[in-house]
Symmetry: C2
Amino acid sequence: MLDGLFRPRAVAVIGASNNPFSIGNIVIRNLATYGFKGPIFPINPKSPSIRSFKCYKSVLDVPDEIDLVNISVKATLIPKVITECGEKGVKFCIVHSAGFKEVGEEGIRREREMVELAHKYGMRIFGPNSQGIQNADPDVSVYANFTFVPMKPGNISLIAQGGGMGEILKLHLHNAGLGHRMYCSYGNECDLTMPEILEYYGKDEGTRGIMMQIESFKDPAAFLRVASEITPHKPILAIKAGRTREGSVAVSSHTGTLVDQAAMATAMFRKAGVVEFHDSLTMIRTGIALSTQDPPSGNRIGCITNTGGPGIQAVDESIENGLTLAKWSDAGRKRLKETQYAEASLGNPVDVVATGGPDQYFAATDTLLKEEGTDMVLVFFVTAPFVDLDAIAAKISEAVASSDKPVVMVVETYEKHYDLIDKLRAGNVPVYETAEDGARSLANLYKYTKLKNRPREEPPALEVDRAAAETVVKRYEGKDVYLPQLDAFAILAAYGIPVPKVAGINGEGDLAAAAAKVGFPCVLKVDSADVIHKSDEGGVILDIGDEQALAQAYGDMKDRFAGVNPTFILMELKPAGTEIIIGATASPGLGSLVMFGLGGIFVEVMKDVIVAVAPLSRPEAREMMTGIKGYPVLEGVRGKAVDLAAVEDLLLRTSRLAADFPSIVEMDLNPIFTYPEGMAPAAVDVRVKVR
Amino acid sequence: MLDGLFRPRAVAVIGASNNPFSIGNIVIRNLATYGFKGPIFPINPKSPSIRSFKCYKSVLDVPDEIDLVNISVKATLIPKVITECGEKGVKFCIVHSAGFKEVGEEGIRREREMVELAHKYGMRIFGPNSQGIQNADPDVSVYANFTFVPMKPGNISLIAQGGGMGEILKLHLHNAGLGHRMYCSYGNECDLTMPEILEYYGKDEGTRGIMMQIESFKDPAAFLRVASEITPHKPILAIKAGRTREGSVAVSSHTGTLVDQAAMATAMFRKAGVVEFHDSLTMIRTGIALSTQDPPSGNRIGCITNTGGPGIQAVDESIENGLTLAKWSDAGRKRLKETQYAEASLGNPVDVVATGGPDQYFAATDTLLKEEGTDMVLVFFVTAPFVDLDAIAAKISEAVASSDKPVVMVVETYEKHYDLIDKLRAGNVPVYETAEDGARSLANLYKYTKLKNRPREEPPALEVDRAAAETVVKRYEGKDVYLPQLDAFAILAAYGIPVPKVAGINGEGDLAAAAAKVGFPCVLKVDSADVIHKSDEGGVILDIGDEQALAQAYGDMKDRFAGVNPTFILMELKPAGTEIIIGATASPGLGSLVMFGLGGIFVEVMKDVIVAVAPLSRPEAREMMTGIKGYPVLEGVRGKAVDLAAVEDLLLRTSRLAADFPSIVEMDLNPIFTYPEGMAPAAVDVRVKVR
């Protein structure tokens, strides 16, 4: 329970100072300015008072119990003050001070010792190198943070790994006339973790939705678990910083880890039902809509405008973001015809024209909101000089208030009429600056609906021979090697993944036996750790038709690879099918990620792949398949569809195998031939690496 | 010359009224409020004065010469007032009134008659159903428009087909503290056309750049010609409304034309060097940068921040929009090391950290601007509570002022410090709200640089037998039919496009002769307007090896298509190659558009195509080839590259053919087999439609 952090009874500030530019001073000012409901205790051995608050030499001198302490003394003084806090019975220490993990080895040691010390007293550390926390709940009103954005109560709670991004989230809610609920920017995350905070937000009744910015996941599995529990009842909107190679290097120089976690983040977000964003303002605008509007129950948008151009922008943006245009019922059309001017357009968008007044706007808004076939409404309003603006705003608010469907407004005006925007916002209508922003925000709310409504299932029980696979895998654990082909195929076969018949060859004497096992026509392959690109290096001979050809091929191959002391395998020749690729990679802290795409050029040139967290449930496997752009190829653009159930089964089995054996750090089924129903697919080439 | 419109000596307002909600009244108010330098003459037979201006019964009663008249009387009164304006010697009439083309047949007739009448007097009509024009040049200061956004002098000129979008363009420049130069929203475009206005803007010395919104092109060729002349010395930023099917329907209901012109617009923009946008605020933000900054000469961005997260956002956004991160010289690194705090990050972004003050910001900005390897700089600045904000703003402005390189700033702050933003803007630095917006704006300026620096060439002279092609095409003109295969191949061959050997077959007797001509193995194809999907309907027999097989195949095919009275052709069998597709479509008002993509699935599933205006120059043909995502396939991802020069040649010839014969309304070379150098490609199937 994080009540001691987010709902503290009293706060002490260690490192309080009369220097108005010091963190300690600013924290006290913020706590006081925003009316913290408990007492504030500055701690400074040298000052009798700070900002009108009596100052204490040590927390141990404070007469009250203290839940939370803000610490901004230099890193070397930390052990002393932590000890005192522990003795005082403090529950949470926010450590603003820098000089820890981010400065290297010595900082890491210092950080570890601080946590160990705190835990001795049952105390938790937030930070270090962190901003702090805020809770705008009027019962608490705690601004235990040194930043500057004004605080007022709202219903969106915020988490930002980067403090600057946290400010941006708060700031733009503030600029839209909204407040926030809880806020934190957690810095080095040495003890108290982001998922713990997220879990607390999830359980907070005053939190309607969560926005977050993440630079790196310390405990991805915990995040995935917690986020998955929250999204069925509360939206999470998130940005993972560093989606380009250059951006992830920037993350690294900033936080001290160098892992491109972007693909992992996207996979986790999708699995957990988190709506992912790349652009901060786009996320914030969605958060603004979420603050007052319910996510739409379907994807049909109705638009109203009093001028054509922005209506088109709204339509283009809606369609490109997955919405469809609502169609009016006969009754709806009739009412529009009766209420709008002759020159109005009654399609979607409804164009009430620039002379459209309060009655026209009311009727259009009310009609669309009452249409069964409309899930959400966007109302665009440029303040034309011919009409009664106040009355229009009032009538739109009236229509909106009588409906539960989400509505956003776009008001184009200038400073003279900004009071209109304030009035609309006071009526709980989100107001945007452009039609595109309004449409995108609704479309993003709908993305939450879609994620929430996906079927959620456990990964299915599969008939697999885990023991057989384990026997093979165990032999290589600790070795960090690619497995010989026969063993790699054996592992797949143990998990019910269809593979061609294969046989090893140890010299000419084995040829006949091997051929008897796999049959003709067959394929001869070199199998050596020294030969990476087998086909390119002449290590694969296809379509060997008889024993004579086999002997010839074997002789050639032996000569070719005489230098690398290779082994060889013989493999059943499978007819060419529609190629797919399934891969798996170990993802530290999470388990394994599984990758899916079509063969060859689709992956290599078009980068048309999708990555998900293993093991997959059936709906997740289907979502992967249908999620690639090339999916129509599997459905059979020209000619027959491949056996989609078989592809789904392959995904389930491969992901289960990766999940069952964390020591399989890399697995590549490339290509897998797939065929129309009635013929089992075949993983004709495979690479498995065990660590 | 449009001086009479944009620099009128006197303006009359016909339909002036004392009703403050009337267009006539508002136009007079706007003209007066923004200090029009000439006299204003209200015209109304019933009022002695309007808004303190003496009112006249007719323009004929006005003592002065009048260049421009704003007309807002109802459509039926137009002929009378136009006649009077003509007799008065007026040069331009802005017709605000509706009731023309947009209401159907009667309106179209009324519009035509109005233009004919005006032309009798050498007068031009702007509109009808239009807003009007503005020119903020202090020498003129004419606000001959009924809208509300305040006007002040700026250097970006604006054209908007949709009046509401025009307001948005003006408004957001205004909100950023900027004005604009000229403005117009031209409504039905019945006489004076958008390209004429664009041309005038292009020649205006006070116009540094142009922003435009277009819903439909009345004269695409004129636009292309004019825009191409402007962009070498002045950027044009443009949005074409209606890029989705739904959006283009919305355009249609709004303006009365139903053509999806989105692909044409993109092709014209690319050819003309116009920077295309989809999102209105993104375009406006680029316009804001353009108002004070030069487009960067290269794509290397340097970033400065005082907090990590937004720096990462800036990097991700820069990279995804085609910029690269600048690297510092040794001298630059040294100066950064000497001037920044120990905890600062000295890579790119430079993180001066939250305690970074005026000296740190100055040194970082000045260093980066002086780096030879840096083409542009983004400075992020969150108003941390520890530092002297005014001094930082002043020092950044100082550093920026001493450099010609483009700089944008991002300031994260709230209302208390908005004066900082005003001060920075007063120093001609564009200021944005988020790092992404700043980075995107710079990247979009660079897009202009890139377009401007492309090699511009005329379409090359090609050796073609135009007469031979013409003989064939002429036979079908006026018939609106698909050509028989032999004729289609003949046209291609006349233009030097490599095709297989082909021969017609008129009965069994022809088989031997045909086979002798094309050789074995060959392909038998049905050729009938009734058989559209030849392959799917069994109308193609491949790989016929000898005369016996040919006789058999011919017999089968005759039976199969007995019902449609078909003809047949025999064709040389070409080996399978890397498939490409080239198509051409007539584009009314422009000529022809040519389309390029890879074969089959790349076009059908991945929609990976590029469209350009015919005829192509060599650089344009190369740009098409390299512009598709699948280009690496041609370069040979695995295996050999195809003969790229041959593909370029195919594009040049096909585009020349389409351009030479406007009656070829549709042409589809699908597929064309291409091969490595040394083997000519072959257009193995072709459809040509002549109207």
